[in-house]
């Protein structure tokens, strides 16, 4: 295949991913579980901890934003993939000339847009109310986008395993809650025991929280920030590929 042929194939695949994401936005964004699991749960959790622990707002706001992205995107993926399989509409995607990777990417893009909207809707009033401010808005947006993409990938992976929406939510909680406590969201990493600090480095939420804290509190671009973004990108890719493989295995 020529270079032009390969490029047009990729453009075509990406366009189809985008159409799948657009359709998901229309159909699944306003389902109730997205708001209960995606918004209310992390906000309640964080309020409880922030009141008890008296954490300062420069730690609260980025942590809460990451948490909302995690819960929001994984919730929408549970609905968008599992519900679609339950109702039979997933079949429509499987019989179409769309690769598994394109399909998974489409689902994850829907999560990405959802994460962006949710995080921005939360961040703007919260940073104004708390007086935290946003040091580098563009880098904050980049951090939100990569966090959304990674957590969407995680959500899709869980969803291709699960048969029912409650099962997907349960499986997601199995991953979300330990991550929420181990990734420096409530307690800064520096204050955690060294073993837990090592464990935290295996969790994508750690990099999301760190990237958001840096970009919100520091206007200078740091190497740590870009390393966090790179790790999130690697997590995303690995999660998409694994989800596509699992889906392929499932239909065999």
């Amino acid at each position: 295949m020529t270079k032009v042929g390969v490029a047009s194939k990729w453009v075509d695949a990406f366009a189809k991913s985008f159409y799948i994401a657009k359709k998901d936005a229309k159909v699944y964004y306003f389902k109730a579980p997205n708001f209960t699991y995606g918004l209310l749960m992390p906000v309640s959790l964080f309020l409880a901890f922030s009141i008890a622990g008296q954490i300062n707002s420069s730690l609260i706001v980025p942590g809460l934003t990451s948490l909302v992205i995690l819960f929001g995107t994984t919730s929408i993926e549970a609905v968008a993939v599992v519900l679609e399989r339950q109702t039979g509409t997933f079949e429509r995607l499987l019989v179409a000339p769309v690769s598994f990777f394109t399909l998974i990417l489409g689902k994850a893009l829907a999560g990405l847009f959802f994460g962006l909207v949710l995080a921005t809707a939360l961040l703007v009033p919260l940073s104004i109310a708390s007086g935290t401010g946003v040091a580098n808005p563009l880098l904050v947006l980049v951090a939100i986008a990569f966090s959304s993409l990674t957590f969407s990938g995680l959500g899709v992976l869980v969803s291709v395993y699960a048969k029912w929406v409650p099962e997907a939510q349960m499986l997601s909680n199995f991953l979300r809650f330990p991550m929420a406590f181990l990734s420096g969201t409530f307690v800064p990493l520096e204050l955690m025991p060294s073993q837990l600090r090592v464990a935290a480095r295996f969790l994508p939420l750690t990099y999301s929280v760190e990237a958001l804290r840096i970009s919100m509190n520091d206007s200078a671009i740091t190497a740590t920030y870009w390393l966090d973004i790179l790790v999130l990108a690697v997590f995303s890719f690995a999660l998409f590929v694994t989800a596509a493989k699992v889906l392929q295995k499932k239909i065999e």
């Binding site: 189809k16 159409y19 359709k23 229309k26 509409t89 995607l93 499987l94 179409a96 000339p97 239909i251």
Partner: protein
Amino acid sequence: MDFAVTVRDLTKHYGDIIAVDHISFEVDRGEVFGFLGPNGAGKTTTIRLLTGQTRPTSGVATVARYDVVHESTKAKERVGVVPEVSNLYDEMSAWDNLIFAAQLYGVPKNEREKRAKQLLDLFEIYERRKDHVGNFSKGMKRRLTIAAALIHEPDILILDEPTTGLDVRSSRTIRNLIKELNKSGTTVFLATHYIEEADQLCQRVAIINQGKIVAVDNPEKLKVIIEEGNVIEVSFSPTQDLNDKLGSLNYVKSVSRLGDKFKLYVEDVAEVIPFVIDFARENRLKVVSINTVKPSLEDAFIKITGLSPEAMTIEKGQVQSEKKGSVG
């Protein structure tokens, strides 16, 4: 010969269950090919294999000359699929469903709206194009599902039980549409458990039972399997359930009931008739009518599969639990 579909030794196992067992057949370009069998016979599994929704355990299948496993994307581009249960997005309008289908199949942007309008006109849903599909009747949903399957102008249309659960009028509309599509050159692969439907629409029919193809031929040739005069239709008064009793008569191989009539599949009509008359007398029944009848495709199906016509109408779950070893 240029075949639209070829299937060679196709087999699908789900664990210990053999859903499709070494089936082979071809579908000619431009024909309506019927895939006839009871629920649970392996029809839907075969469709899932042909449309890339699952992979075969062994064997090969091509659609529009493309291998369904190794060239699945190319094969999918040439096929339109209408599943047994309409799989449209209820939350979206009819129009948006068609446009989304067009986008998935890579229909050029300037063509999408034109084709969507044409199809909605053809299927008489244009006036309801802005309505959510969730508000549509079963018949309208089915018509829209077929429209969505045609948006990319496929060479082959695969339909799985397209008239199941529809009222008479909607069923007739769908059957007429299938005929029209075939006239315009589309190859149609029609899986059905309605024998009459297969007889009316199909140029050739494959009969599948318990995952195996038991016959492939055109309906008229299949009917020849039963020699004319080996089917008796008899009606008694008062009407009551006599299947078992009639089935135990000498020379009677099987019995089916159609309303107030019983169809007896017999070895020799002349030998059987005196037994039927004696039977009526012994059971204090009046013979209202007794005729020899021309065999139908249903009679051929019964002879080939050994199944009763009632087996074709049993719900899927029932059949699967009764016949472990086949998934349809």
